[in-house]
C-alpha cells in the first residue's frame, strides 16, 4: 500500500554499495561469502516477517530475541527426547506461538502497552532460560538433527526456499487476504477498524502468535546449522529485526509498510557490515553506520508525515 519510493531508494542504495564493492573488493561476491551472508541472516529475515505484522498493527515486540533462545533450546530438547527432527521443529514453533500468545493476550485483553509487556517477557524469558539451563548448551544432538539429516547443501537450500516461501506468502496474504486488510486497518486507527466491524484485539493477539511461531521457525532453521545449541542465542535479534522493518519503510506508528520493504531493509543492514570489512574499514564503524541508516529512514518518514495529509488531519484534530 502507498507509494514505492522507499523500496526504490533502498534498491538504489544497495546497487551503489554493490558497484563500489565490484570495483574495490570483488572478493565480496564469491559464492562462499554470499552463502554465509544469506544463511547468517535467515533468522533475521524470518522473524522480521512477524515483526512487520506486529508493527503494522501499531505494536512492538522486543521479546523475539528471548523467544528465539527458548525455541532453539526447545528444539534441541525435543530432539533429545527422541522426536524426529521435523516434529521437534514443529513443537519448537508451538512453543514460540505459546509465548506469542502470552504477549498478545496481555496486550489485547489486559490492555498493557506492548513495549512494557514484551520488555517484561524479554527479561523473564531470557533469565528463566538461563536459570533452567544453568547456562549449559544443548549438546550431543541426535545424528538426524543437524542439517535435518540431509546433506548440508540440501538443508541450506531447504532453509532458503522455506524462508522465501514464507516471505512471499506473507506479502501475498497482506495484500490479498481479508485478514491482511484487518492488520492495516487496526494499525491505522483501531477505533475506525472497530467501527467497521473488525475486532482489533483479536487481530493484535493473532499477530503476536504468528510472530512467536515464526520466531520458532527461525530458531529451528538456525539450530540445525550447528553441532550444539547455545542457551544465549538470539541476543540483540529484536533490535536487528525492528531496525530492518523501520529501514524498510514500515511505519513505527502502524498502518503503513510492506513485506518487500522490510526484506530490503534486512538485506541492506546485512550487507553493510561485511561490505565495510571488505572495503578495509574498521568494523567499529558498522554499528554507527547502521544507526545513521535507521535515523535517515525515520527522518524520511517524519518528513513525509509532516508534508502529507497526516499533517492536515493533525491540524484538524487540534
Amino acid at each position: 500500500m502507498g507509494s514505492r519510493t522507499r523500496e526504490v531508494s533502498l534498491i538504489a542504495a544497495m546497487l551503489a554499495i554493490a558497484l563500489v564493492l565490484v570495483a574495490v573488493a570483488p572478493g565480496f561476491f564469491t559464492f562462499g561469502n554470499q552463502r554465509d551472508l544469506v544463511l547468517a541472516n535467515m533468522p533475521v529475515l524470518i522473524v522480521s516477517l512477524g515483526m512487520v505484522l506486529v508493527i503494522l498493527t501499531g505494536q512492538i515486540d522486543i521479546s523475539v530475541g528471548s523467544q528465539f533462545a527458548i525455541c532453539s533450546v526447545a528444539a534441541g530438547v525435543f530432539a533429545h527426547m527422541g522426536l524426529p527432527t521435523p516434529l521437534a521443529g514443529a513443537a519448537a514453533c508451538a512453543v514460540g506461538a505459546l509465548m506469542g500468545a502470552i504477549n498478545g493476550a496481555l496486550v489485547s485483553w489486559a490492555g498493557i502497552p506492548s513495549i512494557v509487556v514484551t520488555l517484561a517477557t524479554m527479561v523473564a524469558l531470557r533469565d528463566g532460560l538461563r536459570w533452567a539451563t544453568q547456562g549449559a548448551w544443548v549438546q550431543n544432538l541426535p545424528p538426524g538433527f543437524q542439517w535435518f539429516g540431509q546433506s548440508q547443501t540440501a538443508s541450506e537450500l531447504i532453509t532458503i526456499a522455506c524462508a522465501l516461501a514464507l516471505a512471499a506468502g506473507m506479502s501475498w496474504g497482506l495484500r490479498n487476504l481479508a485478514a491482511g486488510r484487518m492488520v492495516y486497518a487496526t494499525g491505522s486507527d483501531a477505533h475506525a477498524a472497530r467501527l467497521a466491524g473488525i475486532n482489533p484485539a483479536r487481530v493484535v493477539f493473532a499477530v503476536f502468535v504468528i510472530t512467536g511461531a515464526l520466531t520458532g521457525f527461525a530458531a529451528v532453521f538456525n539450530a540445525v546449522r550447528f553441532l550444539q545449541i547455545p542457551s544465549n542465542a538470539g541476543l540483540g535479534l529484536e533490535l536487528k529485526v525492528i531496525a530492518a522493518a523501520v529501514v524498510g519503510g514500515v511505519s513505527i506508528t502502524g498502518g503503513r509498510g510492506t513485506v518487500a520493504g522490510a526484506l530490503l531493509g534486512v538485506l541492506l543492514l546485512a550487507v553493510i557490515g561485511p561490505a565495510l570489512t571488505f572495503l578495509g574499514l574498521s568494523a567499529y564503524w558498522e554499528r554507527a553506520i547502521e544507526g545513521a541508516i535507521i535515523l535517515a529512514a525515520v527522518s524520511m518518514d517524519a518528513v513525509r508525515l509532516r508534508s502529507g495529509y497526516h499533517a492536515q488531519a493533525a491540524a484538524h484534530r487540534a
Binding site: 500500500m1 481479508a178 466491524g197 473488525i198 495529509y309
Partner: protein, 490 residues
C-alpha cells in the same frame, strides 16, 4: 464603565466565517451571559478574548485603570474540561499559574499551601491543598480553576458551561462565588445553555447567531421564549431535496434503552422503512452516545433494541453490521475513513466477507464494487487505488458513506453527515439520503444544524441530558420548538 470591549471582531477558518463583526461590552460588577446555538461562534469568541486565536479584524479594549490589570491583562477562563495537571496536588496546580516562572527559585511549600488554602476558601471550597488533582471530582476541579482565577486577581472571568457536570447544590455554591466576585468588581462572561440559570445569575445577555451578535439585552425584561427566538430567528434559505416516500413498517426500535457508560437512559425511539428520523439536541446531549449504543460500540445495559419487531443483541459493531445496521461516525478524519488506505479498500472494509471467499479477497469484485460507488456517489478521485487521505473532505465523506452502503444496510445511522463538507457534496449527500429512503432504508440522521434537521427529517427526536426530550412530526416542528425541547423549556 466597560472592563472589556469587543469591537467588530471577525474571524474565519478555511472558508468558514466563524465570527462576523461581533461586538460585546462587559462592565464591571456584571455577569454577562453569552448564549447561542451549537456553532454560533461562542467558543471562537472566547478564544479570541483569551488570545488562543487571533482575530482577523476588530479590536479588544481592556480597561487599564487598576494596577492589577496593568500588571497583566487579568483575563481568566474556566473551560468545561478543567486544564489541570492530574498528577500534581491542588496547591501545585494553583502555584503553577501564579508563581513567577524562574527556573532556579526555591519553592516555599508552606507559603504555597497557605495561598492555596486561602484561595480555595474564597472560592467556597473545603478542599485539602495536598490532594492530587486526579482524585478530585469534576466540580471540585472546576473550583480549583476558579481559585486559580481568583488568585490571578482576574478582573475578567470567563466561565464556559461551568455547570454542565454540577449538581444543584454545587451550582448554588458556584453562584455564591460568582456573586462574590461580581461584588469585588469583576466582570464575568457566563456561557450556558441553561436558560433558568442565566435568569438566576446574569445581569445582561448577548445572543450570538451564525457568528454575529444578534442582540444584547438586560435580563430583567426578557422572556425565555424571546431568547430562543433570538437564538434561532433565521430563515431556512437552503433548499433540501426531501420528498415524501411511502413509509412502511418499523425497522429499528429502542425501548427504554440505557447505557450507563455512554450516559444515556430510557431512550424510546423507532424508525420506519423509508423514514428519515432527525436526531437533534445540543452538543453533549447524548446523540452520538445513543448512536454508539445502537451499533454496539458501547453496548446497552438496560432496555432493548428491536429489529423488525424482534429483540436483538448488539454487543459490537460487527453484530450491527451482521444485522445490516450501518453507522457513519461523526469524526470522519479519524474514524470514518482510513486515510492511509486506498479508496477501494476503504469502501469494502466493513463488507470484506462480501468481496472475499474463504478469506481471500476477490480483487476483481472489489474493483467493481469500488468503481460502482465511485460512479454512483460521484466521488472525485483519480483512481480507486489512491489513498483516501488524498481526497477532499467532501469526497472522503462520500467514501465513508460508500463503505456503509456496501454492507447493503437496512438501517443507516448518519452522525453529522455533512459537517465540514463543501456545499456541492452536501447537497449530493442529501440527495443520496432521499434516494436511500425511497428504496426502503430507515435512516437516523444526527445533526447540529437545525435547518438540516427540519429540511431532511420526517420526524425529529430531540435529546437533552442523555434522553429523548420529545419527538416532533415534520408538520409540527419549528426551530423554536426543537430548541425549546433541547434547552428544556417546553
Amino acid at each position: 464603565m466597560a472592563l472589556l470591549e469587543v469591537n467588530a471582531v471577525s474571524k474565519h477558518f478555511e472558508g468558514v466565517q466563524a465570527l462576523k463583526s461581533v461586538s460585546l461590552e462587559l462592565r464591571s460588577r456584571e455577569v454577562h451571559a453569552l448564549v447561542g446555538e451549537n456553532g454560533a461562534g461562542k467558543s471562537t469568541l472566547i478564544k479570541v478574548i483569551t488570545g488562543a486565536e487571533k482575530a482577523d479584524s476588530g479590536t479588544l479594549t481592556v480597561a487599564h485603570n487598576s494596577p492589577a490589570i496593568a500588571h497583566s491583562l487579568g483575563i481568566a477562563a474556566v473551560y468545561q474540561q478543567p486544564a489541570l495537571f492530574p498528577d500534581l496536588t491542588v496547591a501545585e496546580n494553583i502555584a503553577f499559574a501564579l508563581e513567577s516562572a524562574g527556573v532556579w527559585r526555591r519553592i516555599d511549600w508552606g507559603a504555597r499551601d497557605q495561598l492555596a488554602r486561602e484561595l480555595l476558601d474564597r472560592a467556597g471550597a473545603d478542599l485539602s491543598p495536598r490532594r492530587l488533582v486526579h482524585t478530585l471530582s469534576m466540580p471540585e476541579q472546576q473550583i480549583v480553576e476558579i481559585a486559580k482565577a481568583i488568585g490571578a486577581r482576574a478582573k475578567i472571568l470567563i466561565l464556559d458551561e461551568p455547570t454542565a457536570s454540577l449538581t444543584e447544590r454545587e451550582v448554588e455554591r458556584l453562584f455564591r462565588v460568582i456573586r462574590a466576585l461580581r461584588e469585588s468588581g469583576a466582570g464575568i462572561i457566563y456561557i450556558s445553555h441553561r436558560l433558568e440559570e442565566i435568569a438566576a445569575i446574569a445581569d445582561r445577555v448577548t445572543v450570538l447567531r451564525d457568528g454575529q451578535t444578534v442582540a444584547t439585552r438586560d435580563l430583567g425584561g426578557i422572556e425565555p421564549a424571546e431568547l430562543i427566538r433570538l437564538m434561532v430567528g433565521r430563515d431556512v434559505h437552503a433548499i433540501f431535496p426531501k420528498r415524501d416516500v411511502p413509509i412502511a413498517d418499523i425497522l429499528l426500535e429502542a425501548r427504554a434503552l440505557s447505557c450507563r457508560a455512554a450516559g444515556i437512559r430510557d431512550i424510546n425511539i423507532s424508525v420506519r422503512a423509508g423514514e428519515i428520523l432527525g436526531l437533534a439536541g445540543l452538543v453533549g446531549a447524548g446523540r452520538t452516545q445513543l448512536a454508539e449504543t445502537l451499533v454496539g460500540l458501547t453496548p446497552s445495559d438496560g432496555g432493548e433494541i428491536l429489529l423488525r419487531g424482534r429483540g436483538v443483541r448488539i454487543s459490537s459493531p460487527a453484530d450491527a453490521i451482521d444485522l445490516k445496521i450501518g453507522y457513519l461516525p461523526e469524526d470522519r478524519l479519524r474514524h470514518g475513513v482510513v486515510l492511509e488506505m486506498p479508496v477501494a479498500a476503504n469502501t469494502t472494509l466493513a463488507s470484506l466477507d462480501a468481496v472475499s471467499r474463504r478469506g481471500l479477497i476477490d480483487a476483481g469484485k472489489e474493483r467493481r464494487v469500488a468503481r460502482g460507488y465511485v460512479d454512483r456517489l460521484r466521488i472525485k478521485t483519480h483512481s480507486i487505488y489512491a489513498d483516501a487521505g488524498s481526497l477532499s473532505g467532501g469526497n472522503q465523506q462520500k467514501v465513508a458513506l460508500a463503505r456503509w452502503l456496501a454492507i447493503q444496510p437496512e438501517v443507516l445511522i448518519l452522525d453529522e453527515p455533512t459537517q465540514g463538507v463543501d456545499v456541492g457534496s452536501k447537497s449530493e449527500i442529501h440527495q443520496m439520503m432521499v434516494d436511500l429512503a425511497a428504496r426502503g432504508l430507515a435512516i437516523v440522521m444526527i445533526s447540529s444544524e437545525l435547518p438540516e434537521i427540519l429540511g431532511m427529517s420526517d420526524r425529529m427526536a430531540v435529546m437533552r441530558n442523555g434522553t429523548i426530550a420529545g419527538i416532533l412530526p415534520r408538520a409540527e416542528a419549528t426551530q423554536e420548538r426543537i430548541l425549546a425541547l433541547a434547552l428544556g423549556h417546553e
